[in-house]
């Protein structure tokens, strides 16, 4: 594995073993390929399919569109296309680790790829990674989670579900006027510290 700026897969021994096994696992077991809603800009079809499967489980909003309907994976792909190509390489490495069955056997006690697992197993895997004692796995979870949630919840049509009004009518706001006061002399003077 190359050393790059944003090493999503920055590993210790456990990670190195997982990656090595993972490479074999991916070679031996195929990913359930999902067709994107539009041509991919950054991700490979395999990485897209893994991401789409993860997004399906991360984003479950009663009354809201599914991740597939909201095209979360397509949105992450579009975002990655604007970033340095190294970022996509590292993101795909993380998805590969999550997908592969051999690493899954080592880490999650599962025999199947992530995309080939039923939803309850996928949820167990994601929860396990999010709380893992291995920082590598928590790191992968957080990276994928942040991008998927960020893409999903930027969609205007979802905002009504959570009472978010979106951009306000600026003309209806009645702003106060700031008050001209001298600055505080110093906010860094020592203060008495009280234990909470």
């Amino acid at each position: 594995m190359s050393t790059t700026r944003r090493r999503l897969i920055q590993v210790g021994v456990i990670g190195a073993v997982a990656l090595a096994i993972g490479g074999v696992g991916v070679a031996l077991q195929g990913t359930d390929i999902r067709q994107p809603a539009r041509p991919l800009l950054a991700l490979s079809p395999r990485s897209f399919s893994i991401l789409a499967a993860v997004a399906d489980r991360l984003v479950v909003v009663p009354g809201g569109p599914s991740a597939r309907q909201a095209q979360v994976a397509e949105g992450v792909d579009a975002l990655l296309a604007t970033l340095h190509p190294d970022t996509t390489v590292e993101f795909e490495q993380a998805l590969t680790l999550l997908e592969n069955a051999a690493a899954g056997l080592l880490i999650d006690q599962r025999w199947t790829t992530f995309t080939g697992s039923p939803p309850d197993v996928q949820d167990r895997v994601l929860k396990g990674w999010s709380e893992s004692r291995f920082s590598l796995l928590r790191k992968v979870f957080r990276a994928v989670h942040g991008l998927c949630m960020g893409v999903y919840w930027t969609q205007d049509e979802l905002h009504g579900l959570i009472g978010y009004p979106g951009p306000p009518d600026l003309s209806a706001l009645a702003p106060p006027e700031p008050v001209a006061e001298p600055p505080e002399p110093s906010v860094l003077e020592p203060v008495t510290v009280e234990a909470p």
Binding site: R5, R6, R7, Q10, R57, L58, V59, V60, P62, G64, L79, T82, L83, H84, P85, D86, K127, S130, E131, S135, R138, K139, R142, A143, H145, G146, L147, M149, G150, V151, W153, T154, D156, H159, L161, I162, G163, Y164, P165, G166, P167, P168, L170, L173, P175, P176, P178, V179, A180, P183, E184, P185, S186, V187, L188, E189, P190, V191, V193, P196
Partner: protein, 512 residues
């Protein structure tokens, strides 16, 4: 009148000449460029980000993140443990900041004098510069009674606990109090650089080129003889457009605390100095509170209250200050690391949620050297920021303080950003926080304040620029931005950068 030029204006390679080339148009570059242009110098400002104005600010995260933030808001430390929020457009971070303004605290200036030899920076010498920028940017106190629900909760909690709190000063004029500062101000109420000092610079004849990524400085002996930039239109992952070469009598690097040291490193400048070292970030953790009454945490001036109750925690310990933070859907959704229906349930109560943040003051402890900026094989900045024992010591206490503050303010439930979240609803539950894990990937950590990397000092072995912002050993190269700060500040840094840039005008002008 001049206008800001964009990628569309550049169709072929060009060579320009001027008195001063300013690299970066944020809090440092804008204030500097305006003063120099008004003094009659020919000034060219190169900005890597796009030119966006109120007509473009549609108050959505979907538009703002890719167009106004470094790496579409996805910039992180090299290990991905810390999210780095940093602006990237004409106006720099001032386009997206939350308008919180403080003069450099007296105690920090004393610390710099005692430990870093910055004898030229004192409350008295800086006062005229702060007064000047406060007048231009309309920096005034936001009335306590106008505080939004998030900030009222902070005031209320501090009052109940007997903790110190204060009102915030903001650089606004005709603020609509909408709460969308982080997505660009749609009414130009925020006195960001693109509506103030950059407008002044244009009026005085300066030339501003957006979407021009500076790749390197060409050096001959102790002089920069050319600035080499390449056009990078918004949305392109790398600069591949026409080349722009600027030959200037003087160059001022004002790209901010990650980009400025990276440019010096790419250019092989100041190799004998610690370029990139001592980078500080006010590491931030957040704790959320849920309240019975709606808080609508997206509404109103994002920050109008602060508490410095725990700024000094005693010898060997990191202090911190407390502020409120707005919550818009994508930011909130990516902050809480649950998933599935649990996560959706959290979002469903967003309008009853308030976030308090604690910003640790790094760089003041004797052995706290902060992070380090280097460049990767492609020349991009890389920030390594190890999480050291003082932070690990501080965070349990910090979380406890923020939780107590919420409970004292009336929160019915307190939720951390751990995975899984730690939740509590009364003070008897506080020991849960002491038992929680802390550190990288255990909970959210982010930074919106980047400082240092080209630190100011008298010794080239321990600093990069002298007290007049000139790079040690270089005759015509200056650094004028937050990267010169030798420590973190313990307050939001924008006004310190405005003031220092105002002071630096004299030194840069004298070098032309």
């Amino acid at each position: 009148m001049n206008r800001v030029q964009t990628a569309a204006d550049r169709t072929s390679d060009e060579v320009w000449e001027c008195d001063v080339c300013v690299v970066g148009s944020g809090a440092g570059g804008a204030v500097l460029a305006a003063g120099l242009a008004e003094a009659g110098l020919s000034v060219i400002v190169l900005e890597a980000g796009p030119y966006r104005t109120r007509a473009d600010f549609d108050m959505t995260e979907k538009t703002a993140m890719p167009s106004l933030y470094q790496e579409s808001g996805a910039r992180t430390t090299s290990d991905v443990a810390i999210t780095v929020l940093q602006g990237r457009s004409v106006g720099g971070s001032t386009t997206v900041n939350w308008t919180s303004c403080f003069r450099t605290p007296d105690r920090i200036l004393s610390h710099w004098q005692e430990h870093h030899g910055l004898d030229g920076l004192s409350p008295d010498t800086l006062r005229p510069h702060f007064e000047a920028v406060e007048a231009r940017l309309n920096i005034n106190t936001w009335p306590r009674e106008a505080a939004n629900a998030n900030n009222q909760a902070l005031f209320r909690g501090c009052d109940a606990l007997g903790w110190e709190s204060g009102t915030m000063r903001r650089n606004v004029k005709g603020c609509a109090n909408s709460g969308y500062c982080g997505m660009g101000c749609p009414v130009d109420g925020k006195q960001a650089m693109h509506v103030t000092y950059l407008a002044d610079a244009l009026a005085a004849g300066a030339r501003i080129q957006a979407e021009a990524a500076v790749e390197r400085l060409e050096v001959d002996g102790d002089r920069v003889v050319a600035v080499h930039a390449r056009i990078q239109p918004l949305g392109q992952p790398a600069p591949t457009g026409p080349e722009l070469t600027v030959r200037a009598k003087v160059t001022a690097v004002c790209g901010g605390a990650l980009n400025s040291p990276a440019l010096l490193l790419r250019s092989g400048i100041a190799a004998a100095s610690p370029v990139g070292a001592r980078t500080f970030i006010h590491p931030v953790v957040a704790v959320m509170g849920r309240y019975e009454a709606p808080t609508d945490p997206w509404y109103g001036a994002p920050q109008s209250a602060h508490s410095h109750q725990f700024i000094d925690r005693g010898a060997g310990k990191l202090g911190f200050f407390i502020e409120a933070a707005p919550l818009h859907p994508a930011l909130a959704a990516s902050s809480l690391k649950t998933f599935g229906e649990d996560h959706a349930a959290f979002l469903a109560r967003l309008r009853h949620t308030t976030a308090f943040i604690a910003l640790q003051v790094d760089g003041l402890l004797a052995d706290d050297v902060g992070g380090t900026v280097t460049v990767d094989a492609t020349g991009r900045p890389r920030l390594d920021y190890p999480i050291r024992p003082p932070l690990l010591e501080a965070w349990p206490f910090t979380h406890e303080v923020l939780a107590r503050l919420h409970l004292a303010a009336g929160a019915t439930e307190v939720v951390t950003t751990h995975t899984p979240s730690v939740t509590l609803s009364e003070e008897a539950h506080l020991p849960r926080l002491a038992a929680a894990p802390y550190g990288a990937f255990q909970h959210n950590i982010f930074t919106a304040h980047q400082m240092g990397g080209c630190t100011m000092g008298t010794d080239p072995a321990t600093s990069v620029v002298d007290l007049e912002h000139r790079v040690h050993g270089m005759a015509n190269l200056f650094v004028v931005d937050g990267s010169v700060l030798p420590t973190a500040l313990g307050v939001n840094p924008s006004e310190t950068v405005y003031g220092l840039a105002h002071r630096a005008r004299t030194f840069v002008r004298a070098a032309t």
